[in-house]
């Protein structure tokens, strides 16, 4: 069993919103860790050793033991470092948070618009807008999905403030209309202005450049497999 005090490492990549979920969770709990950048187009033996099943990031290594999948890692963190819980404490609220996280994971797949065209791309855009509309309803009067401070769902949705704009620019689509989703716009602003978020988000230009490369490789069938978003 890994103890609270044992060393924490995080395998990640600078452009992955899933890695950022874990980084934000680590920050919220004030946990020290060593970050090791991975090149997903030239996977290290370290990554292949610690995540042989999916070969993806993030991977947290605690006391030498690896955990993969961002939301599994966050649940592990809440159970190992019990202060500043990220998931709600009440079992019903926790179930709601897990439900919405699953919903977002399954339906907010808007990054696919980078490598889709025509009708398929339109379908993804519509699906993303449907998700935003539902979330708009869920926010109600709250500043964050977690209440007055950010919680699990805010972290899950963190890719919207940081990444969506860059995706829209490169894929030439419009998903987020601040007039249609005023609560989500307010949430985005509140979230992005938090110091721990602001200082961590990858620069938009870097993301745009990265997505251009991804789009190029992703739409060319000969190079599609292997190039990672």
């Amino acid at each position: 069993m890994a103890e609270e005090g044992q060393e924490v490492k995080l395998l990640g990549s600078w452009y992955s919103p899933f890695v950022f979920r874990v980084r934000w969770a680590l920050k919220l709990k004030g946990i020290q860790y060593e970050y090791i950048e991975q090149d997903l187009n030239n996977k290290s033996s370290l990554l292949l050793h610690y995540n042989p099943i999916n070969k993806k990031v993030p991977v947290m290594i605690h006391g030498g033991k690896p955990i993969a999948e961002s939301l599994v890692i966050i649940e592990y963190m809440d159970e190992t470092w019990k202060h500043n819980p990220i998931l709600p404490v009440d079992p019903y609220q926790k179930a709601m948070a897990r439900f919405w996280a699953k919903f977002i994971e399954e339906k907010f797949t808007v990054a696919r618009t980078l490598i889709l065209d025509g009708e398929q791309q339109k379908k993804e855009v519509k699906q993303a807008r449907d998700v935003l509309e539902i979330l708009e309803g869920e926010l109600k009067g709250k500043r964050f999905f977690g209440g007055d401070t950010i919680g699990f769902l805010d972290i899950v949705l963190g890719r919207i403030p940081g990444w969506l704009g860059a995706i829209e620019e490169v894929a030439c689509i419009k998903v987020f209309d601040p007039i249609e989703y005023p609560r989500m716009k307010k949430w985005m602003d509140s979230f992005s202005e938090l110091p721990m978020i602001k200082e961590s988000l990858p620069p938009r230009n870097n993301l745009v450049q990265h997505f251009h490369k991804f789009r190029q490789h992703g739409r060319d069938p000969t190079t599609r497999t292997g190039f990672h978003y």
Binding site: A2, E75, A95, F99, K102
Partner: protein
């Protein structure tokens, strides 16, 4: 104790996940069979986002998505635990549960498709099973160790529904020689009294899936 209701359908593996969890913990509940071609107003009220089963309603409050329901059941009724107590082991269980969530839909795809698409779905299914065979079980009797847990429940479709798909397709995916651990797990899983006594009739699953496949292929 506040009352527990379960909205499900009699042939769905997702429905059965919740039934198994409730029965393993000895939780009394009222079961309501849904007709998915004519969804009840209650179902639409309790699951407006997906309009699907299963839905667990506890003291009037609905919870949707079978694995979310299982975690809720585990936290609310901790007796006869379905997850290990150690956080790292729990993380491993959740990892495999997610693996099934991400990859498990490929089995249904083998039934819904033909030709090249079907061949790919069959290939993906075998790959998924191979990964589970090599990495998930180890030498254990169940995914959870000596006793059934959440991951065993999640893989219940492999234990009982996959065989039906194989019969319909005339393709054997889970050969005992190639998948000895999974094969042994299926035997152990189905011998557990709660599971053995709560499995839908195989012939009924066969008839239903076959009919759906024919309807789907006829309309495409």
């Amino acid at each position: 104790m506040e009352e527990v209701k379960l909205f499900g359908t009699c042939l769905s593996p997702y429905s059965y996940r919740v039934i198994w969890a409730l029965k393993l913990k000895g939780i009394p509940y009222e079961y309501i069979e849904e007709d998915l071609s004519n969804k009840s107003p209650l179902l639409l009220q309790y699951n407006p986002v997906h309009k699907k089963i299963p839905v667990l309603v506890h003291g009037g409050k609905p919870i949707c998505e079978s694995m979310v329901i299982l975690e809720y059941i585990e936290e609310t009724w901790p007796e006869n635990p379905l997850l290990p107590s150690d956080p790292y082991d729990r993380a491993m269980a959740r990892f495999w549960a997610k693996f099934h969530e991400d990859k498990g839909s490929v089995f249904g795809k083998t039934i819904r498709t033909t030709g090249e698409e079907q061949a790919k779905a069959i290939k993906d299914s075998l790959e998924m099973l191979r990964t589970v065979e090599e990495h998930a079980l180890g030498g254990k009797k169940f995914f959870n160790g000596a006793r059934i847990g959440i991951v065993d429940i999640a893989f219940g479709d492999v234990a009982h529904w996959l065989g039906v798909g194989e019969d319909i397709l005339g393709v054997k995916l889970l050969e005992a020689d190639s998948f000895p651990r999974l094969h042994a797990w299926i035997q152990n899983f189905k011998e557990e009294p709660v599971i053995r006594e709560n499995l839908p009739d195989r012939n009924k699953i066969f008839a239903y899936v076959k009919r759906r496949r024919e309807m789907l292929l006829a309309s495409s």
